[in-house]
Symmetry: C2
C-alpha cells in the first residue's frame, strides 16, 4: 500500500437535501449520517488507508475554505481545485494527473465524500484487495452487493457470480434499470451496484482515457500546463460514461460494508440510529416520522411516515415515500428566483 | 340603542393554537381569521353597535399594554382589570357592576373576543333585536344556528322552534352532547349553539346573580369597594353554570351570521380564504394542507390534510383531523418544564 493515494471527490452540489443542502452547503458538508459532516467521516475512514501526505481532495474554489476548516489534516498541496464543475471524468483525470506528477507509480483510490459506510474494517479490507488487483494493471471498481432491487443506481454485470470478497471481471456497465429489470438483476446474483468508487494505477487510467476520452485528457493536460480556459474545453461527462464503459480489463471487488449513498431524507432517516435532539421532539401517533431540525422544538401529531426538516429560513414536510420529489421544490425556488434559499 | 354598552371578554388564554398561542399571547391576539388579530376584528365589529365611550374590555393586568396598543380607540377608563382569571361569571359580574355604576339603566352586550363572524350586518341586526328584548327585562342569549352535529358546544333548547330572527324562550341549557344526541338536536330544529354572547340590562343580570351566585356577587362588590383579596373569594364558574342555567325569563335570538369559534388549527385553515403568504409556500400533492408560518418558506410534498404551523422557536405538524390533540403537546411541554415555549 506504499504507492496508494486516496482521491476524495468533494465537488458535489446536490439538491436532494434541501433545505439543509444549499449551493454553498452541499450534502458532503452535512452531518447526515451521525455527528460528523459526511466529508469528515469519509476522511476519517480513508486515513486508515493512507497517510495524510497521500490523501487528496478535488473541489471547486468556492469550497476551499470550508474544506480546510473541516479537514485540518489535509496537506497544503493536496487540495486540487477544479475551476468549474464538469462532472467526474475531468475531475478524476485532473486528480490522477496531479498525483502521477508526484508519484509516477501511484495507485489511486477514488471516493465520493457524501456516502456512508457502516462497517469500516470491511471497507478497508475491500480496498486492500482492490489495490492488489489494480497493481496488476486492471481498472477496479468497488461493487456494492445489492440488498434490494434499487432503480436509482447503475449496475455492474459480473462475468461470473462474484464469490466472497474476490475480484471478478466486469462484463458490462448497466445504467439505472426499471423495477422489473432491477429485480432480475438482484435475483441473478451477478449484478453489483456501481457506487462510484474506483482503484487503479494513475498511469493506467490516464492511458485508457487517452483512448476513450482524448478531448478531456488534452483539456486537463493543457490546464495543468497553465493554459487559461483549457479546463472549460473538457467535456462534461461522468467517468463511467467517458472511460469505464469503454475500458478494457475492468474488474470489480465486492463491497458488503453497510454502504449507503444517502440519496434522500428518507435514507437519512433510515440510517440515523436516533435523533440527537430527541428532547426537542414530541411525536404522537406519527410512526416512522423523522425530524431534522437541530434544537428547535418540533411536534408531530397524527402524521406518520414523514420527514420534517427545518433550516431556520425554510421548512420542508415531505412524505418519506416521496423524498425524491424534493428536487421539484428546488426547481420551483429557481423559477421564483429565490436565490437566498438555493 | 342609546343605553347599549358592549363588554368584550379578553381574558382567555387558550392552548389550542400552540405554537402561536402562548401564555402571554393567547388566541384573541392572533390574526387567525384574516389580517387583524381577533380582538381587533371584534372591536371593529362592535363599533357598529356603540360609540367608543360605551365599549368596555375585561382582561387581566398582564394583557393591558397589549390591548391598549391593539385598540387605540379604547377609552382610558373602559379597560376593566380582572385581578386573576376566575372564569366568565366573576368577570361578567365585575363588568356589569362597573358599567351600571356609570349608567344605572345600561343594557350590556357581552362578547368573547376570539371568535369570527362572517356576516357583520346580520350580526348587527341580531344584536339590535336582542337589545329590544333585553330592554323588556329578559336575559338574552345569541344562539347560533347549527350547521353540523357539533359535540364541542353547549346547546340551548328552545321552547318552540325558532322562526326567522325573532326571540324564543330558552327551555333549557344543555351541556356538550355526545354525537348521537347532537344529531337529534340538530335534526329537531329546536336547538341552537350557546356561543357565549349575551345581552341584558346590567341591573337585571346582577339581581339574578344575587339569587343564583351570591358568593360571586358579594366578592365582586367587595372588590369594587376596594377590599384587598376579595376577588379571590369569587367562585371560579362560567356564567352559564353560575347564572344562566338557573335564571328565569331567558330568551334567545337566533344568529345566522357565519359564526365560528375557531376552536382549532383545522378551523383556522377552513376559515382562511387564502394564505396571505402564498408566495412563500410550495405545496405539491398535499391537498387540504394549510400553512401558518408568516414569511417563512414552507414546502409540503405528498402530505395531504395537515396543518403546518411555525412560530420560529417551535414547529407543529398536525393532521387536521387531530388538531384537538394539540393540547397534549402543551401538556407534554409542561411536564418537560419548557416554560419558554408555553
Amino acid at each position: 500500500m506504499d504507492r496508494f493515494h486516496v482521491v476524495l471527490l468533494a465537488g458535489g452540489s446536490g439538491t436532494r437535501f434541501w433545505p439543509h443542502s444549499r449551493h454553498d452547503n452541499p450534502k458532503q458538508f452535512l452531518a447526515l449520517g451521525g455527528k460528523d459532516p459526511l466529508l469528515v467521516s469519509t476522511w476519517k475512514r480513508v486515513r486508515r488507508l493512507a497517510p495524510e501526505t497521500r490523501i487528496w481532495v478535488v473541489a471547486p474554489d468556492s469550497h476551499k475554505a470550508r474544506i480546510r476548516k473541516l479537514l485540518p489534516g489535509l496537506k497544503r498541496g493536496n487540495l486540487i481545485v477544479e475551476p468549474s464543475g464538469r462532472d467526474t471524468a475531468p475531475a478524476i483525470a485532473l486528480a490522477c494527473a496531479t498525483v502521477q506528477a508526484r508519484d509516477a507509480t501511484a495507485v489511486v483510490g477514488v471516493f465520493p465524500t457524501d456516502h456512508v459506510i457502516g462497517d469500516v474494517p470491511k471497507f478497508t479490507a475491500a480496498v486492500h484487495r482492490a489495490v492488489d488487483v489494480a497493481q496488476q494493471g486492471s481498472l477496479v471498481c468497488l461493487g456494492i452487493r445489492p440488498d434490494r432491487a434499487a432503480t436509482g443506481f447503475g449496475y455492474l454485470k459480473c462475468a461470473t457470480v462474484p464469490q466472497g470478497g474476490g475480484a471478478t471481471v466486469v462484463a458490462k456497465f448497466v445504467e439505472k434499470p426499471d423495477p422489473a429489470r432491477a429485480r432480475r438483476f438482484v435475483k441473478s446474483g451477478r449484478y453489483l451496484w456501481n457506487g462510484g468508487m474506483f482503484v487503479w494505477r494513475a498511469a493506467r487510467f490516464l492511458e485508457e482515457m487517452d483512448r476513450t476520452a482524448p478531448r478531456i485528457r488534452r483539456a486537463v493536460a493543457a490546464h495543468l500546463a497553465g493554459e487559461r480556459g483549457a479546463w472549460e474545453r473538457a467535456t462534461r461527462l461522468s467517468v463511467d460514461y467517458a472511460v469505464m464503459e469503454q475500458a478494457t480489463d475492468v474488474q470489480v471487488v465486492p463491497l458488503d460494508a453497510g454502504w449507503d449513498d444517502l440519496g434522500s431524507w428518507d435514507a437519512a432517516g433510515r440510517l440515523r440510529s436516533k435523533d440527537p435532539h430527541a428532547r426537542s421532539r414530541i411525536l404522537l401517533d406519527s410512526e416512522g416520522s423523522v425530524v431534522f431540525a437541530g434544537e428547535k422544538m418540533v411536534a408531530v401529531v397524527g402524521v406518520p411516515g414523514v420527514a420534517v426538516v427545518d433550516s431556520g429560513d425554510a421548512l420542508l414536510v415531505v412524505s418519506r415515500a416521496r423524498t425524491e420529489q424534493v428536487k421539484l421544490v428546488v426547481e420551483t425556488l429557481k423559477k421564483r428566483r429565490r436565490k437566498d434559499l438555493l
